[in-house]
Subunit: 241 residues, 2 copies
């Protein structure tokens, strides 16, 4: 599978190779980034004293680097200059798949698992850049309108980063896959798609009169799909570089 | 916090005690189950040879027990009769919180982290029950309309279960929490709520003519919130017991 290495692909190793349903798997950056960039929420798995933790958090991406805020792992990371192995996963649920047999019930989804070694970002310049990115990556241009973080705030925020060493995406789309022998059964079968969309923005009642919904949030229109809006934010952010 | 143990609460230990923002945390079964039952998708963290994995999968709950399908951990579990420590996490994103400073940007969410020891469910009766539950818990009454799993299918499906030993829920709701000194800034601040809803069911084109959308899916109406529908499914399932 990885005989001729493709510069656009992550290496495939026992760690990231799909163990089941490998026809749904992909290892190229485009596929992995598409899943990651369409979401604000990820889950990070790490180990402390043999105990796994799975922490939901906000992530952001810059090239092959992923970043997130401090978590329960922070105390451990402080003492681990060599870094901590983690697996950061993003998943989108796209539909419920109802089959004619229990066995073929399923879900449509897009997921990406990323493996790497987490480090605390403690270089002051790198950290300041990351703390801007966590805002501007979702709301491009927004930090230009905000005061700067004060030193206490920067100090009170732990930023963790990792380069993606290996990754895989896994995607299921489409309809039901039933056994041919079951297809004539008089059973309703099909897909119930699900979608996550934005509702109307709720302005803080303390915002001074006359402050409009800003241009930099122009693509956050009521009713739009969250995954599409966040993908657009990432593209805008990268363009503004 | 746990001086007078509450039978409705999970024990609070260093493993599940919230490390940050503990005013958002809860340890009672009602809070934890509400988060779990509103979702089909969870993330399971486990460790193989020191490497953490974070696998998205479908979960279901029966009392204090959580179940999911086989995963990359399956091979390891086969050799580990004592079980494998895991952390199973469910998270819902409810809104984007845009503040007047980078520091106070946030998200509204509901999450639950559950700790336990995963075992393969290999007792044939228990396994058969679990394979019914994974359908009926989401679509109560549906297995009555399906053929039974054949022995090959049951054999080919790994069911993993764990009793929740410890758990915590963490919830953020409401508006922006800005520093009082920032509130007069001429900056748009507020919340953009997000919601996951059902779209219209897409029937498999091979379903024989005249098969209606079934009564047992009556609450899966187009436009309803997924979390509310799945919570209703769990309640119906428990009632049908």
């Amino acid at each position: 599978m990885n005989d001729r290495p493709d510069p656009q692909s992550f290496p495939v190793t026992p760690r990231n190779r799909a163990k089941r349903l490998h026809e749904r798997a992909a290892y190229d950056r485009d596929a992995v980034y598409a899943v990651i960039d369409a979401s604000l929420l990820c889950h990070v798995a790490y180990v402390i004293d043999g105990q796994p933790y799975c922490t939901p958090t906000i992530h952001w991406r810059d090239g092959d680097w992923l970043f997130w805020h401090g978590s329960s792992a922070s105390r451990m990371l402080k003492t681990q200059k060599a870094g901590l192995p983690v697996c950061l996963t993003v998943a989108h649920l796209d539909g419920l798949v109802l089959a004619r047999s229990g066995f073929h019930h399923s879900a449509n989804y897009r997921s990406a698992m990323c493996f790497g070694t987490a480090h605390i970002i403690d270089d002051p310049e790198e950290k300041a850049e990351a703390l801007k990115a966590v805002v501007d990556r979702f709301y491009p241009g927004r930090t230009d309108m905000l005061r700067e973080n004060d030193p206490q705030e920067a100090k009170g925020t732990m930023v963790i980063g990792m380069r993606i060493e290996e990754a895989s995406a896994k995607i299921r789309t489409g309809g039901v896959s039933d056994d041919p022998a079951d297809v004539d059964a008089p059973v309703w079968a099909g897909v119930i798609p699900v979608e996550t969309r934005l509702r109307a923005p709720e302005i803080c009642p303390k915002v001074p009169e006359g402050v409009p919904f800003p241009d930099h949030l122009g693509h956050f229109q009521e009713g739009r799909r969250l995954d599409e809006v966040l993908t657009e934010s990432q593209a805008l952010y990268e363009k503004q570089g």
